[in-house]
Amino acid sequence: MTFKEALTHPWLTVRVQIALGAIFIVAALPKIADPPSFAHMIYNYRILRGDLINVSSLVMPWVEIVCGLLLILGVWVKPARWLIAAMLVVFIIAISINLARGNAIDCGCFDVSAAGKTYEERIQDMWFVIIRDLGMLLMCAQLAFAERVRRTASVAVE
């Protein structure tokens, strides 16, 4: 088995898809449970206009949970995957902007309560979040690559 075959093998693809879906469902739950705290988290990023903060904090968790469910159920996988990838890119950019300007924040990714960390701990966490989000972006890439290989193979068979 070549590296490409291993990377696009259905055994791996299914597990990556379910794992990614589960991660986004788990991430969405605390935000859905406490929208004001999530709104506070988004406010702390200081990159969104004030009138958009509440709307974003209400809608984004539901987009996460719907996409997560679709990935797990295997329905509308492609748009769910692209939406998740788009959100990850937005998260990475948002964290990077705040790292660049030295604004240490709690990311609010899986927990919307203020953790009471020090400035240095928050900065360290932000770097970790970027690496983690890049990892999840790779999972999206694996899903996209596997689907492309599968399509190419099926076209060749036809």
């Binding site: 206009r49 004030g50 009138d51 509440n54 968790p61 539901w62 939406l83 030295g102 400035y119």
Partner: protein, 264 residues
Amino acid sequence: MRVRHPVAQSVIIIALAAIIAVVANGFASRTRQLKLPGYYPNALQVPPRVPVKVPPPARTEPDVVEPATTTTTAVITDTTGTIVPATTALSTTALSTAIAPSTTVPATTTSAAPAIATTTPTTAPAPAASAPKKVDLAKYPPHPDKAYVEISGEEAQALHAAGVLFLDARRTSVFEAGHIAGSHSYSVWEADIDDKVNKLYEERSEPAEQNRPIVIYCSGGACEDSHMLAQKLWGIQFNNVYVYKDGFPDWQQRGGAVRTGGQP
């Protein structure tokens, strides 16, 4: 009709999520609801880095409380049954109408505490509490040119002792876990904040009433909730708002009167 295009499917997913979000928000409890659209005037301003404040060591020796005609040492009973000793100097003339005594537990002393369930007057001072200095409220004149003035913990204690209205800008759940005795929950992140502010405005509609001091606090450090609430109040003509910058953690460090539960 089957939707096949991924872009159209993505739009449907987002629309579905938006509909669910709006419906869920409509049915959410008061403390978990968000107002649409939100109003956060400083949303794009990056706050300056707040230096880490090393809290002073808690004092272990009891302080000597100077006798004063308006001073009452009370035991504050919270809703969960915890008894918090506190030394409070209260003036009945300075009490706000918005901080009426609790109706659930009647006060038994003549000097009414703002919603403090005063059960047993005692002369035993709080172990870590420092006696607040008597404050002259004339030293806190209205400042219509600015939304708020930041004050220290010492000043906050003095104003608290003078019966000035205290507002807690933190989330209701945090307020219930512990707050400055007599303070009222005014979380800026919850949907009913405008209703609460409007109610306060109705209670203090006279200009003279609006010029009475109000102290707002949150969690200290980088917490800006108190500043946001101060700006809201300033926007409706409250011209004498003070932000207790170091907030509740500092109050606890000073051994100030603390109460748990939803009541002031």
